[in-house]
Every structure is written in structure tokens, then in C-alpha cells.
């Protein structure tokens, strides 16, 4: 009886809201509870800076310890510049930029994990810094800033699906472009970059570039992401096709990626294809209910995955050579699947550090002078 009476009392207890003038004043002062607050922004900025620092150290290591003309420092420029751009746009009230900040952080997280776990030993120490910095940023920002409107991205339905699809496409684009540029980083030395692709000469730089599968997959994903942000149907179709192609190429060993990295890429590709299904079904007349792609449980799982990846970047460093060494062939594991399948032994660190394979005619000891005749020129 007393319980029911207490409930009655609580129901009749009226609390007045603040006057509307306070809301108007807040609006005029530009207050926005959806944007990251000062503390969150500070953490996110610190995380992005740590990631960027990791890439800077990687570039320095490449220039100082390895070959100054190898070109990896050049390849690192892409994620490094993206991270600096993200730091500058962290507090921008624009959905497109907020999405891009997330994409840059996710991409850096994946690159960090790959570098520390399956990358060259000489660079692997920078992997945890890159991954943990990016992870801190994502944990600090969470969904802040993603509830904003954007000039072109203002969907009424499937907002969550589209947002996630766009962010994943952007992140994939950056990761694949980075991977493709790394492949092409050997343009300054003799021998073709790994992978099959369209070869062409960059006239002004007198360099030879090969449009390897990661490069063109990255370019297609970038176009798809741009189209999704503009809410184009063709972009989603392109995204599905690109993801199917990426999964097939990755698992078919055509992307020059080690097996675990290829599996990761194939998984994210499958997730993106699944994300697109209800949107396209709805666009073609199906009455699919618009449910958020990540419920509370999904968001928790995503955070768990984030922390797991951060942990993996640290654990990856400690993996003994006989385990990780099988896959520790090149920065992103060139041709590793072959090594694992054929059971070949890990290559000596000297050759691994140079990204060459055992028996490769390009390989030479560190104290041997670099060939100069073919630097920057066509084969």
C-alpha cells in the first residue's frame, strides 16, 4: 500500500523546466552538446598527435636506418598528413569532416596493428603508438559530432547505416591507398613493385608507378565514399562491387597482403556489403524497418573490438619470431600467404628489413653501396 502511495506521490511531483530564454541564449552562444567537449577534444587531439608521431618516427627510421631513397618515408606522408588534417578538423561543426576524422583514426588503428604485428621489425615499435593513439581518439570521441547535419549528407532514413558505410569506405580507401603507395615505395630502386597492375611513368618526377590492385581498389573506394556522402545510389552499388572485389582479391592473394591482414580486409568488406543490403532493398521498394546498424550491444562490441585491436598492437610486438616471423615479410606482408602455405622458413632480418625476399637479386648487404644507375629511371 505504501509502495503504491509513494508511486502516486512521485507521479504528481512536478518539476518545472528552465525558461526557454536559456535555450535561446545557449543557441546564440553556439553551444552544442553533440560536439566533443573540451576534455574529449583534448584526449582526441592527444591521441591523433601520438599516432602522427608514430608515423613521423617511422619516416625518420626509414630515412636514417634504412635506405634514404627507398621511398617509405614518402609513403608515410599520406596517413601523416591525414592525421594532421584530422587534428585541425576535430572541432569543426561539419558532419563530413567529423566522419572523415573517424575514418582517419580507424585506418590508422588498422595500420598500427598491421605494422606492429606483421610489419618489419625495425618499424614495428611505432605500431603501438599509432594504434593506441588512434584508439584513444575513437574512444574519446564516440558518437560526438556524428549527429550533425551536413550540406549533402542529410538522410531521413538509414542514417546510421549510411554513416557507417561512408566511414568504413573512407577508412578502407585510406588503408588501401597507403598499402598501394607502400608497394610503389620501391620505385626508387631497381625491380618492379609487387603485384600486378598497369605500369606508367610519372613524367616530372621521372618515376615509374604501377597501379597495383590496392591502389585502384583504394581509388574506387574513395569514389564510392564520396558518392555515399552525396547519397547517390550508384555509390552504394559501387561500394558493394568494390567490396566484393576487395574480398575476392584479398583472399585470392592478389592484394600483396599477408593472410591475417587479407582476412581482416575481407571481413570489413563483408560487413560493408551487409550494411548496404537494407538500404538498397528500401531504395528498390522493400519496406525494411529502419533500425540502427549498431544497437547498444553493437556499440559495446565495437568498443571492445577497438580495445582488442589496441591490445593486439602491443601483444604483436611481443610475438616470437617463430610465430609472427612467418608473416613478417615486408611492411604489409608481401607474399606472406605463399610462405605460410609452402612452409618456408622466415627470412633473415637484414633482408626482411629491406623488404626483399630470399634469393632476390635486388637484395644486397647494408654496407654495399646503393646502385645509382637506375635510380628514378625506368627499368
Amino acid at each position: 500500500m505504501s509502495y503504491d502511495r509513494a508511486l502516486q506521490l512521485l507521479k504528481t511531483r512536478s518539476i518545472e523546466p528552465a525558461p526557454v530564454e536559456q535555450v535561446l541564449r545557449g543557441r546564440d552562444q553556439g553551444l552544442d552538446p553533440q560536439m566533443p567537449d573540451a576534455r574529449q577534444a583534448a584526449w582526441a587531439r592527444a591521441g591523433l598527435s601520438l599516432s602522427a608521431l608514430g608515423f613521423v618516427v617511422m619516416a625518420v627510421l626509414d630515412l636514417v636506418i634504412l635506405s634514404p631513397i627507398h621511398g617509405r618515408a614518402f609513403a608515410v606522408l599520406l596517413p601523416m598528413l591525414m592525421l594532421f588534417w584530422a587534428i585541425g578538423n576535430l572541432s569543426t561543426r561539419d558532419l563530413g569532416r567529423q566522419m572523415f576524422v573517424r575514418a582517419v583514426a580507424w585506418s590508422s588503428l588498422l595500420i598500427g596493428v598491421v605494422v606492429s604485428t606483421w610489419g618489419l621489425r625495425v618499424f614495428s615499435w611505432t605500431g603501438p603508438a599509432i594504434a593506441i593513439g588512434a584508439g584513444i581518439t575513437l574512444l574519446a570521441l564516440r558518437g560526438r559530432g556524428l549527429g550533425l547535419s551536413s550540406g549533402s549528407f542529410r538522410p531521413l532514413a538509414f542514417r546510421g547505416h549510411l554513416l557507417l558505410a561512408a566511414v568504413m569506405a573512407m577508412a578502407d580507401a585510406q588503408t588501401l591507398l597507403f598499402s598501394g603507395i607502400v608497394d610503389n615505395a620501391q620505385i626508387f630502386v631497381a625491380g618492379p613493385p609487387p603485384g600486378v597492375g598497369l605500369e606508367f611513368i610519372v613524367p616530372l618526377a621521372a618515376m615509374r608507378m604501377v597501379l597495383t590492385p590496392p591502389l585502384w581498389c583504394g581509388l574506387i573506394m574513395a569514389i564510392a565514399a564520396w558518392g555515399i556522402v552525396r547519397l547517390r545510389t550508384w555509390a552504394l552499388l559501387l561500394n558493394i562491387l568494390a567490396n566484393v572485389a576487395i574480398a575476392a582479391l584479398a583472399l585470392g592473394e592478389s592484394l600483396s597482403l599477408s593472410l591475417p591482414v587479407a582476412a581482416m580486409l575481407a571481413t570489413t568488406a563483408a560487413v560493408q556489403v551487409l550494411l548496404s543490403v537494407p538500404i538498397l532493398a528500401s531504395a528498390f521498394g522493400d519496406k525494411t524497418p529502419d533500425r540502427p546498424p549498431l544497437g547498444r550491444r553493437g556499440a559495446r562490441l565495437a568498443r571492445l573490438l577497438l580495445v582488442a585491436l589496441m591490445g593486439l598492437s602491443v601483444v604483436g610486438l611481443a610475438l616470437p619470431n617463430h610465430v609472427s616471423g612467418l608473416w613478417r615479410v615486408g611492411w604489409v606482408g608481401t607474399g606472406a600467404a605463399h610462405d605460410v602455405r609452402q612452409g618456408s622458413r622466415p627470412e633473415p632480418s637484414l633482408y626482411r628489413a629491406r623488404g626483399f625476399r630470399m634469393g632476390d637479386k635486388r637484395a644486397r648487404p647494408l654496407d654495399e653501396p646503393r646502385p645509382t644507375t637506375n635510380v628514378g629511371g625506368p627499368r
Binding site: S2, Y3, R5, A6, L7, L9, L10, K11, R13, S14, I15, E16, P17, A18, V20, Q22, V23, L24, G26, R27, L31, D32, P33, Q34, R142, G147, L148, S149, R154, P155, L156, A157, F158, R159, L162, I228, L231, R232, T233, A235, L236, I279, S282, A283, P292, G295, R296
Partner: protein, 184 residues
């Protein structure tokens, strides 16, 4: 030349911040603010916090008015924003406070309730019992027992299954009833 078709429907551009915009906000606030504030009060048990969150809710709503799918469902849309902001607030509080701090804070809250001489004993007992619940159970209890929402409505707002809401509300009710039994 017509523009390329969009993948999903997009809203009309949001109105500029003008006198008409202010009037529209006033109208929206007068219509919905009390209900939003009241629910937030029941969910938090803190009048000041509920007022702050109500203001935040309308600040967010103001920026997202152009994304409202169904103007008739404005109320539930606002309650959804309010609940998301409340969850954000709780998460940030959890991060900020360690276990011992949370324990101290809970006791401080209880002391505040005890010290409020204007409230009848029953209400104080109820508020004390609600503070002893974790956030999920409290939410389910408030939506089901205080507001009288259906299981479907409560589940939709909390973004959990109907079974989960039902279980949480039941457990919360048991807890609150036990608090009354022990005081009597």
C-alpha cells in the same frame, strides 16, 4: 537539368535562425519541455541535472529539426534525444568517478534525500530505493511503473528487447518493494 536521384529521402533545408525560428522554438519548448524534463527528473532523481539535460535536448533538436521524419512523432523524437544525452552523461560520470567515488556519491545523494525535510517519508523511501538501483533497472522501472509505458514503447526507447525491459522492471519493482517492506 534535373539533379541525380538521391539514395534515400532528404529533408527540406532547415529554417534560418530568425524571429520566426525563435517563435517555432518557443512553441516546441512550451509543448514538449515539461514532459521531457519530468521524465528526465524521474530517470535521474536530480532536478538541476534534468533541467540541464532538457536544455541540451532542445539545443540538439534545434540543430536537427530538418531530420525529423514524422512531425507528429516530435515528442518521441525529443524523448529519444533526451535519453541519448542522459546515457552520454552517465557514461561520462562513470568514467570520471572510480568505484569508491561512486559509492561516496551515492551516499551523498542519500543524505540529500534524508535532509529534505519538506518531502514525505514515503517519497524519500522511494527515492532512496531508486538510487540503490543501477541505471538500466531504474530506467525500466520509471518507464513502466511511473510513466505507465507499454513494454513495446519502453523497449523501443531503451533500445533493448521486450523481455529485457520486462525482466529489469520486475527486478526493480522487487527491489523497491523490499525497501518499503524493510522500512515498515
Amino acid at each position: 537539368m534535373s539533379a541525380a536521384p538521391k539514395l534515400v529521402a532528404v529533408p527540406a533545408p532547415a529554417p534560418e535562425a530568425t524571429t520566426e525560428g525563435d517563435d517555432a522554438l518557443r512553441e516546441l519548448y512550451e509543448t514538449h519541455a515539461s514532459a521531457v524534463n519530468q521524465r528526465l527528473y524521474w530517470l535521474t532523481g536530480n532536478a538541476d541535472l534534468s533541467r540541464d539535460l532538457t536544455q541540451d535536448t532542445f539545443l540538439v533538436a534545434l540543430r536537427r529539426l530538418d531530420t525529423v521524419k514524422d512531425p507528429d512523432a516530435m515528442g518521441s523524437w525529443l524523448h529519444g534525444i533526451a535519453y541519448n544525452l542522459l546515457r552520454d552523461h552517465r557514461r561520462s560520470q562513470q568514467r570520471r568517478r572510480g568505484l569508491w567515488r561512486r559509492w561516496r556519491s551515492r551516499n551523498e545523494s542519500a543524505e540529500l534525500a534524508e535532509g529534505d525535510a519538506g518531502e514525505p517519508q514515503l517519497l524519500r523511501t522511494l527515492e532512496g530505493a531508486l538510487r540503490g538501483l543501477d541505471a538500466d533497472k531504474r530506467d525500466a522501472f520509471v518507464l513502466r511503473q511511473v510513466e505507465g509505458l507499454s513494454l513495446e514503447e519502453a523497449a523501443a526507447l531503451l533500445d533493448v528487447s521486450i523481455k529485457t525491459v520486462s525482466y529489469r522492471a520486475l527486478k526493480a519493482e522487487e527491489h523497491v518493494r523490499a525497501a518499503f517492506d524493510s522500512t515498515s
